[in-house]
């Protein structure tokens, strides 16, 4: 298994390590439920160094991404602005979801998933051929995500006043560079915070400094329950190469109001003309039990399947995403280990700013 620069730090903190797509990473440091609550109420940090950081440099960087991505980089008008987008194949299927940052007209940074690294890089190389750009993966960078209502404040305690002033002023989905650090106000938890990209050999020092500020290490277990509560998709479960963003709750990330040509647009337009047949919804289990991926969902409009599921520590009951027929509303039943348990169909997110959203419970 590959190790991130923080491998020793995880062991020192008592991590239970697992193999995550070939990387040795912590699933928890004791209790993933405690770690989840820590992020919702205070500050926690995740080693996300396994994620793939790719820089697009050259005079046609913006034109390249305008064709490559379903969301429109034309919206990124100032330095540091970022957006969340899917990257589609010609059938409109999702190759990956990612965040892209506009740092200069000739420099955009993309952060893509670890599990899809090889597929993504091959696709980028192929699509880049007709553009005057260079695609460079930065595998020397580590990444620490500090998340929670106290996260930004605790990160600020480690930085000089000048950059703290700049950081205090940025909106979400904006990045600031400071020395060798690339600090983005982004995250995968539904809480405020930063994702900090930095040279691997500096990661241990920053991790320890954050520990000193009372930020607690959190593992993959908490990462999954946090993102699920926050209504955030997980590539490979909630969408893949064979489903479009329109069937995955991601229509809001597809910019089709103008005439911009992007890979997969024609397929999406065809799908809309034919009428969508399925949609991704949220489920809340009424009683006891845990929802998990690949459970059968029974609705009045036909059968569906859960794509992600877990126990929500904030709601204290099970929640899930499910792909169901477009006509499914209000109530359904989920086959959990042979029993049909009642559940409600809801619109994610389930939790926002640490509070349960209206209409969820």
């Amino acid at each position: 298994m590959r190790r991130t620069p923080l491998y020793d730090a995880h062991l020192a903190a008592g991590a239970r390590m697992v193999d995550f797509v070939g990387w040795a990473l912590p699933i928890n440091y004791g209790s993933q439920i405690d770690e989840h609550h820590q992020v919702r109420t205070d500050a926690g940090m995740f080693d996300v160094s396994h994620m793939t950081v790719v820089d697009i440099r050259g005079p046609q960087a913006r034109a390249f991404l305008s064709k490559l991505l379903a969301n429109d980089v034309a919206r990124l008008k100032s330095r540091g602005k970022a957006l969340y987008s899917c990257m589609l194949n010609e059938r409109g299927g999702v190759i990956d979801d990612l965040i892209t940052y506009c740092m200069a007209e000739d420099w955009f940074r993309m952060v893509v998933n670890a599990a899809t690294r090889d597929k993504d890089l091959a696709w980028l190389e192929r699509q880049a051929a007709e553009f005057s750009i260079a695609v460079t993966e930065h595998h020397e960078l580590a990444m620490i995500a500090v998340q929670g209502p106290q996260a930004r404040g605790k990160a600020h305690a480690l930085l000089p006043a000048a950059v703290v002033d700049e950081l205090r002023a940025i909106k979400p989905f904006t990045a600031v560079e400071y020395g060798t650090m690339f600090i983005a106000r982004t995250g995968y938890t539904g809480e405020d915070g930063y994702e900090i990209m930095l040279p691997g050999d500096e990661a241990q020092k920053v991790w320890n400094a954050l520990l000193g500020e009372g930020v607690k290490p959190c593992g993959l277990g908490a990462r999954d329950t946090l993102r699920l509560e926050a209504g955030m998709n997980l590539y490979g479960q909630d969408m893949d190469d064979d489903v479009t963003p329109l069937e995955s709750g991601l229509a809001w990330t597809v910019a089709m109001k103008d005439e911009r040509s992007f890979i997969g647009r024609a397929a999406l337009e065809r799908q809309l003309a034919e009428g969508l047949r399925s949609k991704l919804v949220g489920l809340v289990l009424e009683g006891r039990g845990v929802l998990r991926p690949h459970q059968k969902v029974l609705t009045a409009a036909g059968e569906g399947t859960t794509t992600s599921g877990s126990f929500s520590p904030t709601l204290q009951r099970a929640i899930a995403f499910a792909r169901v027929p477009v006509g499914a509303h209000e109530k359904c039943a989920v086959d959990v280990r042979g029993k049909e348990l009642p559940a409600r169909i809801v619109q994610p997110p389930f939790v926002r700013n640490g509070e349960v959203c209206e209409g969820i419970l």
């Binding site: 239970r16 928890n28 209790s31 993933q32 439920i33 277990g221 006891r288 039990g289 845990v290 126990f311």
Partner: protein
């Protein structure tokens, strides 16, 4: 390395047994098992009065990660279950050999105890 108390007996499916000389036994799951499963969220316990053969699935512990059957380590009748686990399933994680106990049985055949694993044998099997 997980905790394996020396005064208990074990089954290869990670249940522990505390034999109380009056012919009853207390049953739970081991520290190794609770660590593997992770944070418990629901526990389904057998009702008093239910009888089980050794090896019957008689309870379920459900963690965030997975649901796992618990097997009767001995033949007998359930006389009590740990109702505290209804509101506090996390006791199975924090105190698997104490407050995280699952149920108690009246044994029909105490000689079955001889077939259970002693702490050393369980350690060897569990940690391998």
């Amino acid at each position: 390395m997980s905790e394996i108390p020396s005064d208990l007996l074990y089954r290869e499916s990670h249940e522990w047994v505390r034999y109380d000389e009056d012919g009853t036994a207390t049953v739970g799951i081991s520290d190794h098992a609770q660590a593997q499963l992770g944070d418990m969220v629901f526990v389904e316990l057998p009702e008093p009065g239910m009888s089980y053969e050794q090896g019957d699935a008689c309870a379920v512990v459900e963690s965030v990660k997975a649901a796992s059957d618990v097997y009767a380590p001995l033949t007998g009748e359930v006389i009590e279950n740990n109702s505290a686990l209804e509101d506090s399933p996390e006791l199975v994680n924090s105190d698997p050999y104490g407050d995280g106990w699952l149920f108690r049985m009246q044994l029909s055949n105490p000689s079955e105890l001889d077939g259970l694993l002693n702490p050393e044998a369980y350690a060897e099997q569990a940690e391998s």
